[in-house]
């Protein structure tokens, strides 16, 4: 018994690991990222401590004297530096000349110090010049330390005596990495743009789901049910085309149809209308195209699910109803629809979740435009986390947006289960009791 249980665990292990890595981890990481202010600038793998000019500006308000001292960039040719230079293993003449001519000199910038070093009789090579100048660096501005301890010990050696509280605030303002924060969620909650994007998302999901994924799919199912089987098969195959065409090409065909030199413009041109980009002309048009592009893809799935469910309804029910003189409408209303609850629940649930998360068709067609009119939540999350012209990607905020989407998805799914009365759908049939 135990062995077989073990064996079961072993057998399932690869799948379990896969699920852990590719399903669970991303969700957990999204949760983790969403609680941070992570961006390109803060990095992902943690930060360092860098006394940059802007951090000194921050320090000026709390400890003006120390900030002022720290701000001094200095290269001092002192005894400690000379010792270090002697330890570099360079030509001894360099150190001797430095000591003889320049001990006690102070340079404001690295460039000035290096100019002096290059002026030595025994002119060192550029890499050596850099090595030498580094030994005389008595400034912390722009230095990068990988840990607090390194930062404090560097400050200590340079003669900055700081109290613990001061150390903490120095560490705070010089940290370049990310921090834990819930600010992402308050930003999402307070931004009017986010509300607009949320509205767009609900509109998008509702329109595509209701008009195409369920209603139109149902129509397709009924039409093909009452058709002779050969034309029905052809008809179904045609409706599958949008789904099996690669999405890039499929959307490109829509763009060809809609843009200034496209089919619609040419056709309307015959009636004297100037060419225009019909897809992006206004928000209303963009929505029509977005819904059509997604709807034509989505309808086929519902059609297949509903049609196969319809096939499972015993033919005898239809025959019996015909004998009783039922009309087509009565057959649909009293035989087909009542037995479609499961497939409708499945399609609604599945498509809601996939519509919430899908943005590829919108990205390829309108890119969320015109003017963010068709920007949906997942696209906005993508734009925030992975697309910023100036190179600063906002991972934290993007993850928070993704998390919101997950929550919305779960809430909607639970809602559906309630509406469709999931409990009775899965309860044991009374007849078998």
């Amino acid at each position: 018994m135990n062995t077989s249980r073990m064996l079961g665990l072993v057998m399932i292990a690869p799948a379990a690991i896969m699920i852990l890595l590719f399903f669970l981890m991303p969700v957990v990481l999204t949760g983790v990222f969403s609680m941070t202010n992570m961006t390109t600038a803060t990095g992902i793998s943690g930060g360092a401590y860098q006394i940059a000019p802007h951090s000194l500006n921050d320090l000026k308000s709390t400890m003006p004297d120390i900030a002022e001292q720290m701000a001094q960039p200095r290269y001092a040719i002192d005894e400690a530096g000379m010792k270090a230079v002697e330890g570099l293993g360079l030509d001894a003449g360099i150190a001797t000349e430095l000591r003889a001519k320049h001990i006690g000199d102070v340079f404001q910038t690295r460039r000035e110090a290096e100019r002096m070093i290059k002026g030595l009789d025994q002119r060192p090579s550029t890499p050596d010049v850099k090595k030498i100048s580094e030994q005389f660096n008595r400034s912390v501005v722009n230095s990068r330390f990988s840990s607090k301890e390194e930062l404090f010990s560097a400050l200590d050696t340079l003669g900055f005596k700081l109290t613990d509280a001061q150390k903490d605030s120095v560490a705070d303002v010089t940290y370049t990495g990310w921090n834990w924060t819930t600010e992402n969620f308050s930003r999402i909650a307070s931004s009017p743009d986010m509300a607009r994007v949320l509205f767009n998302t609900l509109l998008y999901v509702a329109l595509v789901l209701v008009l195409f994924n369920t209603a139109y799919a149902m129509l397709l199912m009924i039409w093909t049910h009452y058709m002779p089987s050969a034309p029905a098969t052809i008809f179904r195959s045609i409706w599958l085309l949008p789904r099996i065409t690669p999405v890039v090409i499929y959307v490109l065909m829509w763009k060809w149809l809609a843009w200034d030199t496209g089919f619609i413009s040419v056709l309307m041109g015959k009636f004297g209308y100037p060419p225009k980009n019909y897809m992006l002309d206004n928000a209303y048009n963009a929505w029509v195209f977005v819904v059509l592009i997604n709807g034509f893809i989505g309808a086929s799935m519902g059609m297949l699910v509903f049609s196969s469910a319809l096939k499972a309804i015993p033919k005898s029910q239809f025959f019996a109803s015909e004998v009783d003189g039922a009309s087509r409408w009565q057959q649909i209303r009293y035989i087909i629809l009542p037995q479609m609850r499961w497939p409708i629940l499945f399609v609604t649930c599945y498509q809601t979740l996939s519509l919430l998360a899908s943005f590829n068709e919108i990205l390829l067609s309108t890119r969320g435009g015109p003017g963010k009119a068709t920007e949906v939540w997942s696209l906005a999350a993508y734009h925030t986390a992975l697309n910023n012209y100036a190179g600063n990607l906002e991972y934290g905020l993007g993850a928070a947006m993704a998390l919101v989407l997950v929550v919305i998805g779960i809430v909607l799914s639970l809602g559906y289960l309630r509406i469709f009365n999931y409990g009775t759908l899965v309860s044991r049939p009374l007849i078998e009791d």
Binding site: L21, P26, V27, L29, T30, T39, T40, A41, G43, I44, G47, A48, A52, P53, H54, N57, P73, R110, R111, E114, R115, K118, T126, K130, V141, N142, R144, T176, R187, S190, S191, P192, D193, K255, W259, D260, P274, P275, N277, L280, D281, A283, T366, R367, G369, P370, G371, K372, A373, A385, L386, N388, Y389, A390, G391, N392, L393, E394, Y395, A399
Partner: protein, 448 residues
């Protein structure tokens, strides 16, 4: 982004493997270089490093060293995937040795430790670095540290289609004087809209084609803010000048209201835009100096100077004529062996030689980076390079290197798009921009 940790483990392992192999054959070095926004005219961004490698190998041979440098070149034709790929690769410690990118990346990338200052490796006082224009070197610096070496320079002019300008009453002499008039502020943004309207009223161009701006977000749009008196940064702090931004937004809203610019212009297919400006379907438009190369080489506008006048961006109310330069810079990425970094730095330095850089400047119609470069025949005999350098470069601003500028930019663009398309009124857009700037950047931006 969620697969990053896994990706990281794998790539760290790969990086360790790679670095050990470099150590084992110290003189056999592979230097990888990536560049963004690199189309067929811009291949010298990468090729220059290869030429530099040959030069460095020869120099090493004379010193008696057997140095073999293999340059791996990866061009990205767009910016989006380039920046995603680079930042993620760098986080995974798998970044290329050298990267050619927009200077505005220096801010966030240096804070994240993705790049190291090039001044740690090269002597800035030595040739050819000491000949590079001072303002370009400044643009390649951040926090007072020189991080990169300018790879090219450019400027973003306003273009006018000559035949249409003549048809609405400009003489040849007027057109020759136009650039100077723009520079002096005598021809303003209001005149742009006026002339665009005239062209449409005369039926020279179709409605919406009078003023035909860039079709997507880009640095160009900061020029309008500058034209209307805006400042991007002051003493290291970002600045949002409400009045100037209102005037800039209003300019586009007016252009749409007058019908000289299409409401749905943003997001239209780029190829179509190029075709149209190259064939006189548009009256006035703006772009970059490198547009010359594409218009002439790819779009078939062989008689450029016969058809097009170019000038600075005209002044608007409260501002002055200006242009923006958006130099690309060569940067050294962190996480490589010191020896490789030193070689990479040397390659960047050699690639900045006027003779090598001029190949890129002229082929791609960018501007030169140094004084000596402008004296090379290839450059000085190129009418475009010469005129654009003289007319534009002295008046060029640049976007600030500031880690938060990207956030500001995104918000500013969102507002512009909303007022342009009429999704919001200009006042509402400005209000929303202000609210969002306050909530996201707080005291890192001065709002006035």
């Amino acid at each position: 982004m969620n697969i990053l940790p896994t990706l990281k483990c794998m790539t760290v392992a790969a990086a360790i493997l790679a670095s050990t192999s470099v150590l084992a054959f110290a003189k056999d070095i592979t230097i990888s270089v990536w560049s963004g926004g690199t189309g067929p005219n811009d291949t010298y961004r990468l090729d220059a490093i290869e030429i530099a490698a040959q030069q460095l190998e020869r120099e090493a041979a004379i010193r008696g060293e057997d140095l073999k440098i293999k340059v791996e070149k990866t061009p990205y034709s767009d910016w989006e995937s380039f920046k995603q790929a680079l930042t993620l690769a760098a986080e995974a410690k798998k970044a290329p040795n050298i990267v050619a990118t927009g200077h505005e990346d220096i801010g966030p990338w240096s804070q994240a430790g993705l790049i190291v200052p090039i001044e740690d490796y090269v002597d800035l006082d030595s040739w050819p670095l000491n000949d590079i224009y001072e303002n370009l070197m400044e643009i390649a610096s951040f926090n007072g540290v020189v991080y990169g070496i300018p790879q090219d320079a450019e400027s973003r002019p306003m273009f006018f289609w000559k035949p249409h300008m003549k048809a609405i009453g400009y003489s040849d002499a007027d057109l020759d004087a136009l650039p100077q008039k723009v520079q002096d502020g005598a021809y303003s943004m209001a005149n742009v809209l006026e002339d665009a309207k005239k062209m449409q009223d005369k039926g020279l161009v179709q409605p919406g084609y009078g003023f035909y701006p860039r079709t997507s977000n880009g640095p160009d749009y900061w020029q309008f803010y500058t034209s209307f008196g805006g400042t991007m940064e002051e003493d290291g702090k970002l600045v949002f000048d409400k009045a100037a931004m209102t005037r800039a937004y209003q300019f586009f809203a007016d252009a749409v209201k007058d019908g000289v610019t299409k409401k749905n212009h943003i997001g239209m297919p780029g190829d179509q835009w190029w075709k149209e400006v190259a064939t006189g379907k548009a009256g006035i438009w703006h772009g970059g100096t490198w547009h010359y190369a594409r218009l002439v080489n790819q779009e078939g506008l062989t008689d450029f100077f016969g058809n097009v006048v170019f000038s600075l961006m005209p002044a608007g109310e409260g501002g002055k004529a200006n242009t923006l330069t958006h130099p690309l810079v060569y940067l050294l990425t962190a996480g490589h062996e010191k020896e490789d970094m030193a070689i990479a730095a040397q390659l960047i330095k050699i690639a900045s030689e006027p003779r090598i850089n001029v190949l890129h400047a002229v082929k791609s119609a960018h501007l030169g980076i140094s004084k000596a470069e402008s004296e090379i025949d290839l450059y000085s005999s190129d009418r475009w390079a010469r005129e654009a350098t003289e007319r534009l470069l002295p008046y060029a601003n640049a976007m600030p290197n500031n880690a938060d500028f990207g956030t500001y930019w995104t918000i500013m663009w969102k507002g512009l798009e909303a007022s342009w398309t009429g999704a919001k009124t200009v006042e509402a857009s400005i209000g929303d921009v202000e609210t969002e700037l306050k909530s996201t950047l707080g005291d890192k931006i001065i709002i006035r």
